[in-house]
Symmetry: C2
Subunit: 393 residues, 2 copies
């Protein structure tokens, strides 16, 4: 008799973060664990107005089956924005609307990955991507992240030694590390991938949330052979589950086949609401508001860590996004810290799930600053500092 | 160098129906090709009111990330309805909200299918399921549909000869054939699957749309080891992309893992809108209205075929759902008929894509009656009859 479930289910565990989030939902807990945008910043009234408008103007179409590619005016908006913000010429026909970046990852995995294929990934890497790709049973090749992006010499060497299907990267305000690739690193990565004929999958979910430093080009600006991913979750609202993939014609043709088999098309009401919102409102001033708030929260978290953390604790100082990455002394386990901290009603995500190699990153952790206010940040960091001291002395 | 795309992409073609639908979108064409509900029957005003309510009452939660399982009150409603309508005791924890039945198929394929695994399927079978499962490269075993369900002796013999992961069936108002399994056949299928320890995947997307004959139990009523699929697309609105899977705890655990990797959770705004609509409106009287309209359209289509079609044309007389299945004389190709008919501005779906075996069903075709009014049905059938006569004489 055949075994009941597919082999791929052996490699996939329930998300560790999801399990942690269940623990941290009690109101008394200060949680730096999630990756949630602050709901107070959702443009709720504008979205409610947009929903009212599309339902009263065009309910019959809004509620019917629609095209797999996604609502054309929405794809046109995205294409136009790439041109204006990034100098990228992308045709609306090279854009597919998805149910958020998570589905983009699933579709890309489906189109590219045979069992055993190599995927090059940052270390630490985005957990959602590791989970999504794991379903297709690839072998991951980890490349360590340095302060300004991955170790490019190691990328080159790795691609010399093995064929890879693609390199997956979050080059801007990376999840989990908060690191942003320098302009030079982006160009170097593009050149190396070009030389080896390897596709870049560039996940730019946080790119619009810069509150310090200078804008840098996307990797797509240097390498045509890039699949660029975007999302409305962080700049508008995640509950509407909308993101997109930009890819060239050959890849898009395959993505459309798997998208159709996956769910025919993305939620059409949400596509129409977001498109209406983008037409009627000034999304740039809305994003500016988000950046203001998140920027001051990051500043506050960094200041509080500087004030309360022991001196030998290292942390990133992200120029945007939602996360800070903390490195404890090698001997200190962030799982031990988690167990101690949760008793003091403060939560975070231990770092090891972000690594492929078993046991790696045991002394690291991720802190989210987008969904806690100033006093929660101060209290939480203070409590965390006390727990760290307890473990290090 | 490795090939660019995954092997699974070799087996998956763009949907033939999707290509046909592009041809048939001109307004002058009478189309029996699609599988669209009639948008005039969408409860648009009620859904607009529900959208307004959830956005004004609870925007902050409606727009935030939510749980993978789906909105609990919605799952409770579905569980309660199964109890009342089908006498099935299903816990809300055994229900997962998906992006419509198409995603349910994708998730089930992911959880169960290794390359080369056997899937038993009806012949003709639902094309969306064939597409979804094909991504996971199974071997299909076709079992012919008779007037009252599949050939159960052949099902038994097939399962004697090979291990199968599951039997996929649309036992009520099947797509494409319109056939409904008798009570006796359901019980027989359940017994055979039980004997062989094979899971039943019961797709019940149309079950609520009965306008003739007597209600029959679900296969789930006879076989616990059944994964039951449902959808709001045909009874409320498909653009909201919401369906569900009922499965036991062990299977649900796996489904949650793949759902999370696929897109974290289904569109939360739509879940809240549909749940609000179900609380505030009488969905049963709404469904009664749909059944009235579709029932009289089916009657009209059957009457017009009886009046205009040559006598040697056979067709099903479905007791519900949206489709009639037509069998031409063996020598007549429905592709030839399609090419002729499209010149006369009438469209349908040729039958062969619904068969796994190359060339099978070449003399069959599917007609949709839910989205054409009475005069379109008369005109369309008349034109089609003229084309058939041209080909058969």
């Amino acid at each position: 008799m055949v075994t009941m479930f597919a082999d791929r289910m052996e490699n996939t565990k329930k998300s560790f973060i999801r399990e942690i989030l269940k623990v941290t939902q009690q109101p008394e807990i200060i949680s730096f664990a999630g990756g949630l945008p602050d709901p107070a910043l959702f443009p709720s009234e504008e979205l409610a107005a947009a929903a009212g408008k599309v339902m009263s103007d065009d309910a019959v179409n809004v509620l019917q089956y629609s095209t797999t590619e996604g609502y054309l005016p929405l794809r046109e908006f995205i294409a136009q924005r790439y041109l204006e913000k990034n100098g990228l010429k992308i045709s609306p026909s090279e854009i597919l609307i998805t149910n958020g970046s998570q589905q983009s990852l699933d579709l890309i995995g489906k189109v590219f990955l045979n069992k055993g294929d190599r995927v090059v990934i940052e270390s630490p890497g985005y957990l959602g991507a590791i989970q999504s790709f794991s379903i297709f049973e690839p072998q991951f090749q980890e490349i360590p992240l340095l302060d300004d992006g991955i170790d490019v010499d190691l990328l080159d060497k790795t691609l010399d030694e093995c064929d890879a299907k693609f390199f997956y990267t979050v080059p801007t305000f990376q999840n989990p590390s908060g690191i942003t690739y320098s302009k030079e690193k982006r160009e170097a990565v593009a050149n190396i991938l070009e030389k080896h004929g390897v596709v870049c999958v560039e996940d730019n979910a946080y790119g619009e949330l810069r509150f310090a430093g200078e804008e840098v080009p996307t990797i797509r600006n240097y390498l045509d052979n890039t699949i660029l991913m975007g999302s409305f979750s962080k700049i508008i609202a995640p509950g509407l589950r909308l993101g997109w993939i930009c890819a060239n014609k050959d890849i898009m043709e395959k993505l459309l086949v798997v998208k159709q088999a996956a769910d025919l098309h993305s939620n059409y009401l949400s596509q129409r609401i977001i498109c209406q919102y983008l037409m009627d409102s000034d999304v740039d001033s809305h994003i500016a508001k988000i950046k203001d708030v998140y920027g001051s929260r990051r500043d506050h978290m960094i200041n509080m860590m500087a004030r309360y953390f022991p001196e030998n604790i290292i942390y990133t100082k992200p120029e945007g996004g939602m996360f800070v990455w903390v490195t404890l002394p090698e001997s200190v386990s962030s799982m031990d810290l988690f167990n101690l901290a949760i008793k003091k009603n403060v939560a975070f995500v231990p770092g090891s799930p972000f690594y492929i190699t078993e046991g790696a990153g045991d002394n690291t952790l991720r802190l989210n600053f987008s969904n806690s206010n100033q006093s929660e940040i101060e209290d939480g960091i203070k409590r965390l500092a006390a727990c760290i001291e307890k473990l290090t002395f």
